[in-house]
Each structure stands twice: as structure tokens, then as C-alpha cells.
Amino acid sequence: MGRLGKIARRTFLIGSAAVLGGVAFGVYTYRKPAENPLEEGLAQDEAALTPYVKITADGITLITPRAEVGQGAYMVQAALIAEELDVRLDQITADPGVPSAAYYNGTVAAEGFPLAATDDGLLARTGRGAADVAGKLLGLQLTGGSSTVPDAFDKLRVAGAVARATLLQAASEETGTVVEQLRTRDGAVLLPDETALPYTALAATAAGIAPVQEVTLKDPSEWRYIGKEMQRIDIVAKSTGTQTYGIDLQMDGMVHATVKCNPRIGGEMLSYDASEAEAMRGVKRVVPITGGIGVLADNTWRAFRAAEAVACTWAEAPYPPEMDGMWEAVAASFTEDRQDSRFKDEGDVDAMEASVEAEYRIPYLAHAPLEPMTATVLLDGGRLDIWTGTQIPRFMQVNAAKLAGLDAAQVHVHVLTSGGSFGRRLEDDYVLQAVELAMAEPGVPIKLTWSREEDMAHDFPRPLQMARARGAVANGQVTGFDLGIAAPSVAASQLARLGQPAMGPDVAIVAGAWDQPYNIPDYRVTGYRVPPLVPVSSWRSVGASGNGFLHEGFLDELIHVAGADPLEERLRLCWHAPSRRVLEAVGEMSDWGNALPEGRGRGVAFTLSFGVPTAEVVEVTATDRGIRLDKVYVACEVGRVIDPVTFDNQVKGGVIWGLGHAMMSELTYFDGIAEQTNYDGYPGLRIYQTPEIEVRALETDALRGIGEPSVPPAAPALANAIFAATGQRIRELPLNKSVDFV
């Protein structure tokens, strides 16, 4: 196949060195193979063929190092391997593996996203204080940036193919049959007489053979799994209450714990009085930790209750304590001094005569995954074990080692299924707290569970943002668009917590705005970096999540002032063929040209994010009881759909996520403390508010992720629909500050 060379080269570049002969990381810098974590601890009859496939006499394990946070990552990764290995998905176990540089995520690093630092910064200084990690370079095993599929598509298929080829070779050596006469089917090698030799029985022989590197990947026409509807490998467990999440872990001798830290994020604890708490039933100890206390007890509820009973004195917030002060800092950042980027600067915006000016605001938002942060940690002698749901096992390993005074090699991270994340588990604060508790109580497994209140208070939110926009129209067309966006830097805040430097501009401040495929004669997008306020983090679709609203809301305003049609004018301005296709598709799906009756309205919005052009049309009705969402149409050019069910779930889930937060969610701070303490103050979309959502995928050969791109256009499409139905232009989120919803 002509594609083979390309695949090998690409695999080579993105660093599957352990699979293909140990040179991948060499190209990147050091000529040093990534370690193969599966060679450690293998028994006599076990063969570790590649870091992604493990076969023993007991079964076949596919290593799926990208975290399962609900987005179907295990499923997609397993399907890619199974396709080439030739096993059925009910024959395998998926295992997230152990933290290892071999599971390096090339795509996230290449995009610099969501960790928007230069390669130099990351390469040179990763894992400060942990020399072994620096020696092995990035070890950037993280899940994020809708990167799982693009990163894994070739790597995992090649891994499966190499494993299969090696098993064929093993069968040939065992039986004396030449490889050309052997076939495989459903986890077995078939001899010419149809005798089946299960892979599991060939594992021991395969262990003694050098992996067969010459592989030809299947032609797409031969695929059995990729692109076909498959049953998710975790669907039965998740429908029967038998899926084990981090919070469900049970161990002999385990102690339950919770923490209470200064609700002013990053603030110190000045003093505490635990006398009442320590006298409560089931309480073992109250332990001071960084910024607060931890309670060790014999069950979670008793720990929660005791934590409430500890009287703590907290220091002031290390940021302006009220929203007014924060907004002042944001508003004061539209200056030359604070200019962070101007990636888009076309025409002569300074000379443009603005006919429309507007200011937009979007609030802090919490991730609030339904499973609160939790981690179980055991420090025993020189060994630290961590069981938790995480998107960053490798960073966590390094940071935990540093805290406990161990080498990274002494820290063993066991990744568990997460009850949601949306970016929250790109942080390891909760794990480091559990490590502190384990250090106070060595030899005992400590399960830390946050209360929802602790989770809300200590979320690292999406930053607040303000936009100042000017625009011009002439002859029924949009001719000028000047958008300045001021926001604190997610990259700087997040990377600092991971012990990483952040250099250069933060792309997230303007992502989803500066990079939109429109030709506007005078067109400028400027990012302004607000000084650090509340520590902030990556939130599903990161910078684009808010910038989609800013860009598409203001563009819609201009189009209306120009007297043009919102869809037609976007099409006229758009130069990018795939983006035009998705706009045309939602137009057709929603019957755009067909006018709606009085009191109803349609809004369109488009955002290109994570390489995926996505257009959405929202239809609403203005009723006596408020705005009702009637229908949503989504079209995206997604590249290849690996798993249609996961695709559909991710797109619809992203729309629901985007709509719900736009309608009713914000995190506000008073006295430095988040005022929303639980889901009563921070509601999500409920089923009765959820419109029917129709999705169309326009497929190409490209490789894209779909966990995030449907989020950014949801908010502006809804706001634009409300304008169409009511004439009310809303420039601030959440929308329920301005209108009621049914």
C-alpha cells in the first residue's frame, strides 16, 4: 500500500518508538526509546507485544491510555486496535495502563493546546525537580483538546497490526506452516485446515520473537469496526451499576476522608479548632494540609459532618474578592501594555468607520462533573499508589513524587473511570491532598472524597471574559469587524500548577475568534491578557467555548444592521469550503429560507474549533412563560467517524452542555468565595428543557476529535434565535439574566 510509508513516518514522528523499534523519541530530541511499561512485571508465559496490546494465557488486554471521562475514549481506542489485531470487542479487556512516556500524546503537544506553551518551554523544563522525567522528555500523557482520535488513529492500528503479524509468525514457528498460508479470525490464527490457535495460546511463543515490523494496514473497505455501530464496551457495566468509578473503590483497611480548604482558592488557613470534630463518632483524626484540614473517619458521611464542625480561620483571597473588582480588572486590560496577541489583522481597521459598537460579557463557569473529585492513596514504605480518575496521570505522578519526596518510579498511578470531567481532571489538586493525608497516615489506604460543596468552591473555572467590538457595514454587507477580547490566561494559570512554564501569547484567549474562515475587508481580533484573578482552567472547548459567543454574537449584530440574511451573509463571507458545506447543510436541515410564524425565531452560528467546522441552527418560540427551545440542527465536518454512537453522543452532549450553561449558569464570587455551592445554584440543562437535536456529519479522510467542537456555536445560535424571535439582542451570559426560559 502506498500509504504505508506515510503511516510509518507519521507514527515515527509522533513517538510510538516502543512499538516500531525505538527511535521515535530520538527524532524528537534524544534518540532514546520510550520505555515499554508492560515489560515490567510480566510473568513467564506473558508476552508484551507493544505498549498497546498485552496477551496472556488468560486473555487479551488492549491498553487505552487516553482517559475515559464519558466521551467513549476507551471504546474508540479499543476499536482501532481490534480492527488490525483481528479480535472481537467482547474478547478483550480495556485497561488504561500505567503512566508512561510511551503513551505520549503527540497531537496535543503539536497543537500546543490546551497547554498553549511553546515546545521549547515544555521540552526544556518539563518535570522540574524530577530529573528522570526531564530525561525522557515530555511524557505528555494527557487527554484533552479533542485529540484522542487524531493522535491514536495510526498509532493504535499499527500496534494492532504489529501484534497480529507477530502472532502469525509465532503460529508459523509452532506449526511449521508458512505465514502466507495462515489467516486470523476473532482472536485466533487459523491453519489451512481451519484449526484455530487462539492468540492466548501463542503468547508465550510470541514473546520470544522480535516484533514483526513490516505490516500493511487494512484498506478502509475491509474495516469491520471502524465507522460501524458497535456496542460500547462499558455500556453493560454502566447500565447495571457495576462500573467502578474512583469514588466506589473499596480496600481492606481503607479509611474514608474529606477535606475542607480555604474556599478562597489558593488562600491559606490561619488557624483551626478541631476539638468538636475529633469528638464526633467515627472520626479518627483531623490533619492540617495545605490551605485547610483533612478529616479521616470510618465513613464518608461522618468525615463530611466532622469537616463542617471544624472551625477554621481563613486568610483573605489572593485575588479581588468581589465581581466588581474583577470586572474592573478585565475592563482595564484593553491596553497596549496588556495586548497578548493579534493573530488576525487584515485591511485597515484603524481607519474603519464603525457603525456598530458593543460590549459583551461572559461569566466564570464551573466544570462540576457529577462525580466529585476523589482519589485513593496508599503510602507504604518507599511506594506510593494512587487510584483515581485523571486526564494527566504522568504529570500527577511527577507532582505526587515531588510532594512525597520519592522518585517518580516509586509512584504508581492506577487510572479509574471518571464520572465526567469536562476538563476538571486536567488538574491534580485533589490527588495531592490525598497524598498529604496518606503521608500523615502511612500504611493505610486513604480514600478522599470531596463534598459537592468543596467541589464547587474549589473548581478552577473557565475565566470570565469581556469583549469590546466595533464593526462596519456598507451596501448590505459586513465590511469591518474589530473584536478585542480580554481574559485571564488559562495556559499560564494551569501550567503553573503543573509546574510548567507558559511562554508566548495564550492562544486560548482568542481561540475560536481569531481563526474563523471569513473574508471581511477590515478584520482584526486582538487578545488582551487580564492579570491573574481566580485561578482558571480548561473547560470543555476551552477558549472557543466563550469566544464562539463573542464572535458569532457580534457578527450576527452586524449582519442585521447591514440588513442581510444571517446565513447568506456568513456564506458570502466564508472562504473555506468545508466551513461553507456545514453552513449550507444546517441551512438545508433547518429549511432556513422558509420563514417562521410570529413569535418564533431561528438563529445560526458557526465556529471552527479543534479543526472541526461546526454550524448550528437553534429554533425557539417566545411563549407567555418564556423562551422555549424547539429544535437544534448541527452539521460538522468531522473527518472520519470512528464510532457513530460515540460521535452522536459527543455532538449532542456538547450542544446540551453549551446551551445549558449559556442559559442559566455562572459562577460568581463574593468575599473571594464562589456563591454557587451546589447544583441548586448552578443548574444544568434538564431533560424537559432539552430540544430535539438533529446531527449531520460530513465525513472526510481527515482525523479530528469531536468531544468539544459542538459546544462553541450553541450559545450564540441560541442568542441569535432569541433576537430573531423577540428583537432583543443579548450580549451577556447567562442569558437568563435577560430573558426567562420555559
Partner: protein, 153 residues
């Protein structure tokens, strides 16, 4: 006190006001019911008390004495799924799955009260529970399939 969970009697020594959710999870090791909010907002902890859906984070242990408590572990088994669970598998409802024990218990209770619910009845009843992943379109479809299956039986 004595609690009867999924047909089995358990003797537990807990405070009267300990929420049933935590008795199930931490004292009895029954982890299907999940903790999400503790204030009856999310419904991830939904169980049945005498066949009726209830948020176990709001029920004191002492008030559950004498009731038939059913958790998702007692609704169906891996070998013989309850019709609602089978529909949840067929429609591949779950994403992260964390809320789904509660969603399934709520749906099973709904279908006892209202064997062939209208779309509006489904939305009304299922709005008691929260899903952060946004699986609502598939929940709607799965409840309808389960209702049809239960009607046949």
C-alpha cells in the same frame, strides 16, 4: 437497626440520621447508588423504597427501616437485565454513566406508575435527575423502548 436491601436483611449500627445513601455505599458496600450533590438536586442516588423512586441522600437510615429497599443491583442482574436496563444497553444511553443508576431507577419507577407515558410525562418525571454529559435524547428513546417492552410482557 435492620435494613432490607435487595431482599437481604442487614444489621447496621449507624446514627438515625445517617442518609441511606451512605449506609448503602460505605456500610454495606453497595455502590450502584451514587453521591452527586447530597441535596436532592441530581438524583444519582435514586433507589426504590417499596417500589417508589426516592433520593437516598434525603432519607434517614431510621426511616428506611421496615421498607423494601431496592438499588440498581437489585433491579436486574447481568444475566437477566430489567427491561429498563436492557433498553439502556440497546440505546447505549451512558456516556460517563455516573448518573445512570439513578436515571434507570427513576425510569423503572415511572413505568410502574405510568406504563405508557407520553413524551411530556417522560420529560416531567425524568427532570428530577441531572445528567451533565447530556444523554437526555437517548434517555427519552430508551424509556419509550422499555415501556413498549414492558407492555408486551
Amino acid at each position: 437497626m435492620k435494613l432490607k436491601v435487595n431482599g437481604t436483611e442487614h444489621e447496621v449500627d449507624v446514627e438515625e440520621d445517617m442518609p441511606l445513601l451512605w449506609v448503602l455505599r460505605d456500610e454495606l458496600g453497595i455502590t450502584g447508588p451514587k453521591y452527586g450533590c447530597g441535596i436532592a438536586q441530581c438524583g444519582a442516588c435514586t433507589v426504590h423504597l417499596d417500589g417508589v423512586a426516592a433520593k437516598s441522600c434525603q432519607i434517614w437510615a431510621v426511616d428506611a427501616e421496615g421498607a423494601e429497599i431496592t438499588t440498581i443491583e437489585g433491579l436486574g442482574t447481568l444475566e437477566a437485565l430489567h427491561a429498563v436496563q436492557a433498553a439502556w444497553v440497546e440505546h447505549q444511553v451512558a456516556q460517563c454513566g455516573y448518573c445512570q443508576s439513578g436515571q434507570i431507577m427513576l425510569a423503572a419507577s415511572l413505568l410502574v406508575d405510568s406504563p405508557s407515558p407520553t413524551d411530556e410525562e417522560i420529560d416531567d418525571a425524568m427532570s428530577a435527575n441531572l445528567c451533565r454529559c447530556g444523554t437526555y435524547p437517548r434517555i427519552r428513546a430508551a424509556v419509550k423502548t422499555a415501556a413498549a417492552k414492558l407492555q408486551e410482557a
